[in-house]
Amino acid sequence: MIALRPNPRDPHLWNPVAQSQASQIVYVGGEDDFEALKKLQGRAIHLAATFKTGAAPVLSTLAKLRRN
C-alpha cells in the first residue's frame, strides 16, 4: 500500500485489508497513518514515509518474496 490513509468511511476497501491473508503486507506512508493501519491489520510493516523513499524498498521486498 502506497500513500493511502485508512478511512473508516471506506469499509469496502479497509475490511478486506483487515481480513487479508496475504503473506506480507507492506505500507509506505506517514507514521500516523501507519499506526491507524496497524489497528486494522496487525501484520502490516512500515517500509518508508513517502513514495519517493518507498519505491526501492517495495521493489526489494517483492523481489525477496519471489525468491523465497
Binding site: 500500500m1 500513500a3 513517502t50 513514495f51 519505491a55 517495495v58 517483492l62 519471489r66
Partner: protein
C-alpha cells in the same frame, strides 16, 4: 488461474508525491475544495451555490460534506454537473514524460525484475498519472480486470472511479436525474483515451442531445466495488 498474486494499492499521497507531474502535483483532499473553487468559480467558487452553502464545510471535510450535506439536498443533475468539473480538473494532471516520476520508476523496476506480470494495481485516485506512466512504458491498462491472467495488459482497479470514466448516454434518464436527489442508475461505463483527455471530456460534456457524466464516487459513503 492467474499468477497475479501481488497487489499494489495507491492512495492520494502517491499522486501528490511522485514528482515530475505537470502543471503541479494534484491537491490532497484537504485542499481540494479551494483548488476546485479557484479553477471553476462558477460551479465551485465562493459565489456559487455550492460555495455559498457549504464552502467552509467542504474545506473541513470534503467527502463527509458531499455525502451528508450536499447529496441529500440537491437533485442529481447539478451534482453531476459539478462532477464534470472535478473530472476536467483531474484530467489536467500528467506525468512530464521524463520517466522520472515515481510511478514510472516503480513500473520500470517491476518490469526489470520480471514482476510486472504478477501485479494487479489498485488506485483510489481520480487522476490518471499511473496509467500515463504505464503508457509511457508501452504497458497496456486493463480496467476491466477480466484479463488477469494475460501478460499483455496490466490490470488497474480504479476503486473510486477515474477522471476518464464516462457513463453511457443518460439523456433518456434526464427527467429522473433532474427531479431526484441521490438518483441511482445502472449504466455502461466507457474509459476515454488518455490522449487529449481534457478535450475529449469537454466534447462529451458539451453534447446537448446526449448527456454524458463522469464516474467518480466523491459523494458515496459506500463506494462502488
Amino acid at each position: 488461474m492467474n499468477n497475479r498474486d501481488i497487489v499494489i494499492l495507491f492512495g492520494a499521497g502517491a499522486s501528490y508525491g511522485p514528482g515530475h507531474v505537470l502543471p503541479q502535483a494534484p491537491p490532497l483532499g484537504v485542499n481540494l475544495y479551494d483548488a476546485l473553487a479557484a479553477q471553476y468559480p462558477k460551479d465551485w467558487g465562493s459565489e456559487s451555490h455550492l460555495g455559498k452553502m457549504w464552502a467552509s464545510q467542504l474545506r473541513d471535510d470534503f467527502e463527509r460534506t458531499m455525502y451528508e450535506e450536499v447529496l441529500p439536498k440537491v437533485s442529481s443533475l447539478p451534482l453531476l454537473e459539478w462532477h464534470r468539473r472535478v473530472a476536467e480538473f483531474f484530467a489536467t494532471y500528467r506525468v512530464d514524460g521524463s520517466g522520472q516520476d515515481m510511478y514510472s520508476l516503480l513500473l520500470s523496476g517491476l518490469r526489470t525484475t520480471g514482476l510486472v506480470g504478477q501485479v494487479t494495481f489498485g488506485s483510489l485516485n481520480y487522476d490518471c498519472l499511473l496509467e500515463q506512466a504505464m503508457l509511457g512504458l508501452q504497458l497496456t491498462t486493463d480496467y476491466t480486470l477480466k484479463a488477469l491472467a494475460s501478460q499483455g495488459s496490466v490490470p488497474v482497479a480504479k476503486i473510486h472511479g477515474s477522471c476518464n470514466f464516462i457513463a453511457g448516454d443518460l439523456s433518456w434518464k434526464r427527467a429522473f436525474i433532474i427531479t431526484n436527489p441521490n438518483a441511482a442508475i445502472e449504466c455502461p461505463l466507457n474509459a476515454l483515451s488518455l490522449q487529449n483527455l481534457e478535450g475529449l471530456l469537454r466534447q462529451k460534456f458539451a453534447a446537448y442531445e446526449q448527456a454524458f457524466f463522469p464516474v467518480l464516487s466523491i459523494t458515496l459513503q459506500t463506494s462502488p466495488q
